[in-house]
Symmetry: D2
């Protein structure tokens, strides 16, 4: 951490600052130039709050040199994390495909969709039992019954299941779920993250609508610092001014996160674009950029879906896309 | 709601669409032009999901005419809502000032700050017991003890207290709190909102970092649709590309929300700007724009604050600002 | 175009509105419901300004049904535009690679880079002679001499050249340039666009830092409406709140623009990310998403570049990336 | 400027870096810690390009300590700049009001509006002769004739005139204009800025739609570094994701720019909000926040305006707002 001292700071203020800093178990190093004074902190600065430093009278600006996350940091964990669950792997070079409806709606629809995505080559079944909806008047999900239907679908197809938790109070219902998803709106629900950190269950953590990549990694750190290192990061589009797509898919997050962390990275092209016609090209782009997994919405009959129909693929569309995705995966792995 | 039909939609598809729509208890009206067909829906469309409509094959685009919120809508509730709590009012023409430290730290510091803000003319005491922090290694708040200290400070000063809830499981601890705050990161924690909707307690709801005003109002609607109409809206800066301020304070939210809703509107210049030197000018601007309340961070010794010191005023600064704020309030009310 | 009439509009106001609209050579169609009145406009509404309609007293809201661009619109020009210049093609299924230094610096450096990119398989040579720099104290480009050096490099390598125009007054200097580039900062320099519309020269038009895709297409329309239909669109990253990358590359722009327009689409991963380590993965992702061309910065010695060194590839890096790009191009064309 | 050296950088690389830096006429200071090495640069770093530094192999990150602008910097010019033109002042404590139509349309309309805004207390007349319009099919302004009409209106009312230049080639037409406006889309049209820097005429420089405040100041620096120090900065709303307003007015820009620069600051609430109903409250908020001037659109008959009618005030509305604005101005100056 580097601290730039104010031009007008008195020697007394600087000394107080140095003394205060020395309480953090780091070494300080003051460089005095003609027009500026700089303090370098040497040691583990993870626990030093940048805002607290900025609040000191003598401080003009602060710059962190080291990332404030440890467990999620590739610097300290050079090998890729691979998550194994239900006989499937996410991370470490293969491509996992998570597919299924936005919401679990009826037994019949879910089973048909589950069978269809299985046949098309999906590795995981997704489906929302608890649905975060902007409007209180929109369908809110089937809740417990939805999870039961997912478990039944797993029995029928063998696909491990991924579903979203919206509140800590529902945690017991997720005991038999394979991967617990934390939605974008809950990426900084820190109480929930800590509780998930005390479970022994993979967590698929979605990037918030306006979260920086560092904030995403800090949220992963919340889970990991409690002991659960099975975190999967998901880029699902960020909010920008562009109105044509629901969000803007930040594919550069894939190679960038790859540099910074050892955790696997999923791309969700369905929520990112909000348009079914963009799901295939963005899936292919994500595979090429190195994503470890895709999360794709598939509905047996999108036009009658209770939520997010406009972005869902039909089983036929998904099957056609999967052929290309698998062909590309193989090409990327073997030829690039 | 207006639906624009695709150029290429067949008559059969359009008929199916019309039939499906008629199931929502609204009347439909098809206008056929030379190059385009439009369907107008007449009646209460609140429960119709725009995305579901978009997913129908025949649909090119959809535009909502009426706002999807009812309880928060000024159209149906023309009179300003006034929240009365602990002998103080928010809304309805007066200006309430909520002040206090970012976090409750120690009994001594809180009491000193509480007394100082009371003397300077604040109406409410704020202080965080549960702190949403980006880093798991940063101070997370005193929790239950923090709330107890706030209650003690209320006893000493008479100021009603405002503090933030981070998770539903802590709700019991807030039984004796005057106003429960929902932070920006929880604005779309719908399970929490619904639970607060079943309390008889004012809720101060902060706008999410990248939430639209309509989404803020929909979150208010979540609380109100469960029966609690005591909702206070808070603009606290939105995330933009500008790096000089922590967020960008959207003061135009005040007159705009005033048109759309009857709920009171608070401005938080401290979190919005992140810079103590901007708190006074932005407070004054907010008062002029018609805010019902201000929420200002004050710390007995900002440079030693455990969180957000850079944006906190000292008691002296707060006192000086309050003089101007009260003088301006009186001028705005009587002369403009 | 659809106009939603205000609840409180009088019959007289509505009649005035209808009469005014009829002056635009379109047919109007008033639908009267119980709670709302809607006017549908039928005919060519391109010349009707949405803002002017909104300003009428009786108008609540306006929604355009048809896109306000004609020449750039795929609806009216279903076949892909292919730009042929100097024996090379952009658009229509092949992949063109434009490569070279950010700025033209010295004859020696430019020639070495030009030869290197030619050998690695580039189709066009890029290089800035006029450089838009945030600071007046930064290197501003060699100007006329820079263009002369590019022409010389073309003579030596046979590569057609692409270089940026910053002001109309320099237009004569571009007489012998193959493709004139309009930078992001000039995307809405309408006087310049119109002048380029009167040239018979391909224009590579970069998306503004915060321009919507529709605004990009409207800027293309400025050029095309003056007679020049040789417009190439370029996505080069948009400004968001994310600090890790210079901008956020919006790859979904490729398939989305493909639907809306027949014009070729270029991706510039160098300016979009600002990081040389992201150039290869984002280039590959762009190829998979269907881009017609890539624009990549290559410098003979990035660490000594006078501008944008941090995002430039070395010739060796470029050569290695080109092998992957060409292999992927062939796979995408033949196998996907 | 502070340079953080990469962990893995060799001693040879660091030495090369130090040597290269010493060529910029600054002193370097290397601090070696256990885990990190930092180089501090002491002296005038304005001419050092951050990107060039980042491109050096040994460099991990760079942080500028001093602002890269000199002429616009309050640090070197502590006193407020006051612009005097046509007997009116902008800056230095008074409040100037610039009012008039978006576009100059007809002689009759302009004269009526000019007389009306004069009577209501405006100090300057604004009006667009060259109009930057998103669509080539929209009204583009009267050009030369528009400027002639403005000059005529000045003769009749005595109000100095403000009008926008869109291209350098039109510069001669502005010889008799009092203040030349540079629009948001041209904020980084550097060729135009430099040319205006060689004129002896006040320039009203609007912030780009997604420009940072530092970029705005760097654009001012372009003008000033050529010799013209009469620059007026204008905040007119920035582009965000919020759809209710055209842009988001960043009022915090006023006190923040006040700290950083001595140049006068104008707020344009009309373009910022796009809604006439928000012009008055945002004007009042801007005055309270310390703006030196307001730029307000007024049209004799907004509903028939050829551009931007939805945001224009009628003369009656403007008169009523001006009463409040002047009353508030006096209160703010004397009582706050």
């Amino acid at each position: 951490m580097i601290i730039i001292v104010k031009d007008k700071a008195t020697e007394k203020q600087v000394n107080e600052l140095m003394e205060w800093l020395s309480g953090f178990n780091v070494r300080t190093n003051l460089v005095t130039g003609v027009h500026s004074r700089i303090i370098g902190l040497i040691g583990d600065t993870t626990s030093i709050d940048v805002d607290s430093v900025k609040a000191r009278e003598a401080v003009e600006a602060v710059k962190r040199v080291q990332e404030p996350y440890k467990n999620a940091n590739r610097r300290f964990h050079p090998d890729d994390t691979v998550i194994e669950v239900g006989g499937k792997r996410i991370g470490g070079g293969s491509l996992a495909v998570i597919a299924g409806p936005c919401s679990v709606e009826t037994e019949d629809r879910l089973m048909q969709t589950a069978i269809a995505v299985k046949e098309a080559g999906a590795d995981f079944l997704r489906g929302g039992a608890f649905k975060p909806r902007t409007s209180p008047y929109a369908f809110q999900g089937l809740g417990r019954e939805g999870i039961e239907l997912l478990i039944q679908a797993r029995k029928e197809t063998g696909l491990p299941i991924v579903t979203e938790i919206m509140d800590l109070s529902d945690l017991d219902l997720f005991a038999d779920v394979d991967i617990v998803q934390v939605g974008a709106r809950n990426m900084q629900n820190f109480t929930l993250l800590k509780a998930l950190g005390r479970c022994d269950k993979p967590v698929l953590l979605k990037r918030g609508l306006s979260a920086t990549l560092q904030e995403l990694l800090m949220s992963a750190e919340y889970i990991m610092s409690e002991g659960n290192s099975k975190v999967i990061l998901c880029e699902r589009g960020i909010r920008t001014y562009e109105p044509e797509t629901r969000n803007t898919l930040d594919i550069s997050a894939v190679p960038l996160l790859r540099q910074k962390t050892h955790l696997p990275i999923v791309i969700d092209p369905s929520h990112a674009t909000g348009l079914s016609s963009l799901v295939e090209p963005m899936s292919l782009a994500a595979v090429t950029a190195g994503a470890d997994a895709l999360e794709i919405e598939v509905h047996i009959d999108p036009k009658s879906a209770w939520s997010d129909g406009a972005q869902s693929l039909t089983p036929e569309q998904f099957r056609a896309s999967m052929k290309k995705i698998r062909a590309l995966e193989s090409f990327v792995r073997n030829e690039l």
